[in-house]
Symmetry: C2
Subunit: 572 residues, 2 copies
């Protein structure tokens, strides 16, 4: 320990203030660089990170934890299709809970600003390991290198620091102590009141397989900052990134004389899941869940008396009823669908186009012309392996490919549907064994809900011929109410139509991006600025991040007593 908690708090104060300023202004800000370009990083950093990842392969992951009863780990790289050969400690769940509770006993008394500073220190150290993290995320999740670097690195860390900003705001809203004075009858009463922030209990962070860090950081930091220990439960096919996170956090805690058991890893297997064991434990008071709508929905229907924050998935849609430049718009849509092979919570799946076509700056375009443009835009990505590799990465798990192949079969048997593009694989330039799949594209009229009225977790784009643009918005918003939606997209040149649509999307609790194309990905969600998930439809109940995400993670306990003469003299 080379720095005291107090010094750490002072050193990181500027960053939490800057983060608070960012969430308050919603302007673009980040303390990190989200490009892996060598010019932004120390010489040798990319190579060192890659080497650290490779050095880990085939070895036990070094993580000291309480009550290790075994080791587990069966990750397989979607790029090499080879096992990573890493195993992780499996701790007895009761022992993890006991250790977390024991750690909370002192953590709750640590100055909230110091807790925040330690979370920032964790973020900084994770950023310092980000090249290693990028390779780790690549080889468990299938994200491309650049996406793994940015989306699972700085963009995710920013979400974590954003949550810290809200935690700071919510906790600072409670004064630590005040003097209160009032006259009752003829008596002047003076009381000294103390208000203490008290954590609720253990926070369980359940991570998804495809994007483990993005939701984990805000959940972990929000709970830790407010005094709660966290137990991280990674998806059994994507443990390594979260093991790195837990290791890093534990090192930070130990370095500052805090109990490392404030952050522990709960490893399980697909065959013997462990999450429910923790959820049912009375000591677990906060559950942050990212994952399938099936389990997330189950939790939403069954968890009582605890805080539950969920992000699951939904049917993201595009309504394309007009644009200036069809090719640019088609490219924006194609890129959003292709990014990480549509394995993102923001990937659009259902593209609504009026059956009688759309207006563009270059004149009318028929439905089929729009469809052709979309296919061409996807082809432009899919047919260029190095572009495809950078955008699509790999498909994490075989079931996603099977889902898409099954859809292709069902579409082939559906007389209404036309397969415009088959889900081929592309040859990855660096990893010939990579599990890749380019999007299936199906054109079909609205009304074929059996095909498109659910989220298919894999690369598929439905181009849906809507009766008209109003019907398109009606169906897109109705499906979001029923099945959820996280990101929605609208292309139109008609301001009055847009205004009406905004009301309709708002009515289904849908965040809407309008007419986005160009260098920024349409499905890019900016920390500190874009609120992610509304909590108003089945895609999740929590928002990254707002006051509601943090304000209930701690409680307030007060004491009060008459102002003493001694205190009076001291104050005077």
């Amino acid at each position: 320990m080379t720095e005291t908690l107090e010094d750490s708090t002072a050193r990181h104060a500027h960053m939490i203030e800057a983060a608070i300023a960012a969430v308050s202004s919603r302007k673009s800000w980040s303390p990190f660089r989200d490009s892996p370009s060598a010019k932004f990083h120390a010489p040798g950093a990319p190579e060192a990170g890659k080497a650290a990842f490779h050095a880990q392969l085939g070895r036990p992951f070094n993580l000291e934890q309480p009550a290790i009863v075994g080791r587990s780990g069966a990750e397989i790289s979607p790029f090499t299709r080879q096992p990573l050969g890493i195993d992780y400690p499996v701790s007895d769940p009761s022992a993890l809970i006991d250790a977390a509770q024991a750690a909370m006993a002192s953590w709750r008394h640590v100055d909230p600003e110091a807790r925040i500073a330690l979370c920032i220190e964790m973020a900084n150290r994770l950023y310092a390991r980000n090249f290693e993290m990028a390779h780790s995320v690549m080889h468990v999740a299938g994200q491309s290198y650049t996406q793994a670097f940015s989306g699972s690195g700085p963009n995710a860390l920013d979400r974590g620091i954003e949550a810290l900003a809200y935690a700071a705001k919510a906790m600072r809203d409670v004064l630590p102590a005040v003097r209160w004075e009032r006259t009752f009858g003829k008596e002047d009463v003076s009381l000294d009141k103390c208000f203490r922030l008290v954590p609720r209990g253990i926070g369980l962070v359940i991570c998804c397989a495809s994007f483990p860090t993005w939701n984990a950081y805000p959940a972990m930091f929000a709970s830790l900052a407010t005094g709660n220990p966290v137990i991280v439960k990674p998806h059994p096919i994507a443990i390594l990134p979260m093991a790195i996170v837990v290791q890093t956090c534990r090192n930070v805690l130990a370095d500052y004389g805090c109990d490392p058991n404030l952050v522990t890893l709960a490893v399980d297997t697909l065959e013997a899941p462990i999450a429910q064991r923790f959820i049912d434990d009375p000591a677990v008071q906060i559950i942050d869940f990212t994952g399938s709508p099936r389990y997330g929905g189950y939790l939403e229907r069954t968890v009582t008396g605890k805080l539950l924050y969920t992000e699951t998935a939904g049917i993201n849609s595009v309504v394309l009823e007009g644009c200036d430049d069809l090719a640019a718009t088609a490219t924006a849509i194609a890129r959003a669908t292709c990014l990480f092979s549509a394995q993102m919570c923001t990937s659009p799946q259902n593209i609504y186009v009026p059956a009688d076509g759309i207006e563009t700056a270059d004149g009318h375009r028929s439905f089929d012309e729009v469809a052709v443009a979309l296919v061409a835009a996807v082809d432009a990505i899919a047919d260029n392996p190095s572009v495809a590799a950078g955008i699509m990465g790999a498909v994490q798990a075989e079931p996603s490919c099977q889902i898409v192949r099954n859809l292709a079969e069902r579409a082939a048997q559906n007389p209404d549907a036309r397969i415009l593009r088959a889900p081929t694989s592309y040859p990855h330039p660096d990893h010939p064994q990579a599990r890749t799949m380019t999007p299936l594209i199906v054109a079909l009229p609205a009304g074929n809900a059996a095909l498109y009225a659910e989220e298919h977790f894999g690369p598929v784009m439905f181009i849906i011929a809507a009766t008209d643009r109003n019907a398109a918005v009606e169906e897109a918003t109705r499906l979001a109410r029923e099945h959820g939606a996280i990101s929605s997209y609208l292309y139109s040149n008609d301001d009055a139509f847009i205004d009406n649509a905004i009301t309709a999307y708002e009515g289904s609790g849908m965040n809407l991006s309008i007419n986005l194309h160009g260098a920024m990905w349409a499905n890019f969600a900016a920390a500190y600025s874009d609120y992610h998930v509304t909590g108003l439809n089945p895609a999740g109940n929590a928002c990254l991040a707002d006051l509601a995400f943090v304000a209930s993670r701690f409680r307030i306990v007060q004491n009060r007593r008459p102002t003493s003469r001694k205190a009076d003299a001291h104050a005077a």
Copy 2:
């Protein structure tokens, strides 16, 4: 409608700013007078209020509501034991829900500051009816006139305005619109983003019988301010105060051109309770419950996917291990227990005194001497009918008396227990038929959990001989963890002991008042300053009021689009 919404917003702006300043400083503040003394009120106001109450007796309550299918009402005054003879409209629940949803459609688009202003207007008009309210609360709940005036009037309205202050803080935390700019590669991207506050859905406010307005105002105002309609479900034996509230709120809404169905009354009977019908309805998204631990606990164990805020009850304790002036301390404890015949959520029940006595400024006092002082302090209230009437009021319901009589029988049969004071009635000077009961006082050693380890809703004080002061704190805090506690009291002259005790009480999520006596009631909870209920033990899950009480009652929906050239020119 003589004033526009905009003018109302401007006129009330100073009050919400003052309320925000108050919750931020936690200093004493109120826009209202909490004394019924004629000198603070307009000439004739007390008489007019009393006359309004009497004019209502024996008549149908005039409340226009949707889909009235019948009338109901069987309130009986605890003071006169006569039926009030008032009936209230019973509306079809589905129609109330439909009407609330229809009303929400426009209310959600009303400027949040205007919604807050209308809630302040409601509070002001309720304050203007406060003499009528005082008589109404008296004759359904049994509160004394002065307590009904203050505790159910200004003190409750203050809690409501306090919730408005937090609603304002939470909503103002979300900017309505920003311009966001960032460079991606070589492209400067500029987006205009709009962030809209969206209500969650209908708020159901379930009121308790003994103190209906105190929790109702914060719940109603928190939901209304954040855009949600409310359905008020009063306890069937205490409808009138909430009918007055609903009537007043509806009048305000109508006066400002808003849909009065934003606030409706759902009347039921003891035989056919209706709350669950609303709780189970998908349109009801927020439930504020005040009442029995039995039903509150049931809701906490069963409600999923909705916001649930509860305040139930607990075992409030005093640990008396030392004091300067025993008589003054005994008086403070006696007054807290006697206030409203111990029918308050803050009433102390279990008084722990070390078996070997306590130290005072006047020397050692044995356990029995302490007990004698406590009995004498209760007698000083109970033996003076006009004092008793002002403090104790009446017992609302016969079961409370029966609980205390049963306890007296059980204590008489318990060889460890000594009945120091029988639960007699006192003659009420104004209402000879009043249901009154002075406290049963039982002295007994610790360990008789069967007698005192639950909340007895009626006037009873257990003076418990603890092995020592540490054992006293241990048991008081343990019972709070198991059964809840809302207000706890400690008397000690030993600062080190107090410091340790504070940690122990904090560990059980107990708000603690230390060494309080004198003109301020020890169980007085000041709006804007004292956080009421910690949410950390079974006495409830919500706090009046903090950010967590309001921050989840609304959600954020955003849209974003490229900055248009037109907007650029406009901004320049």
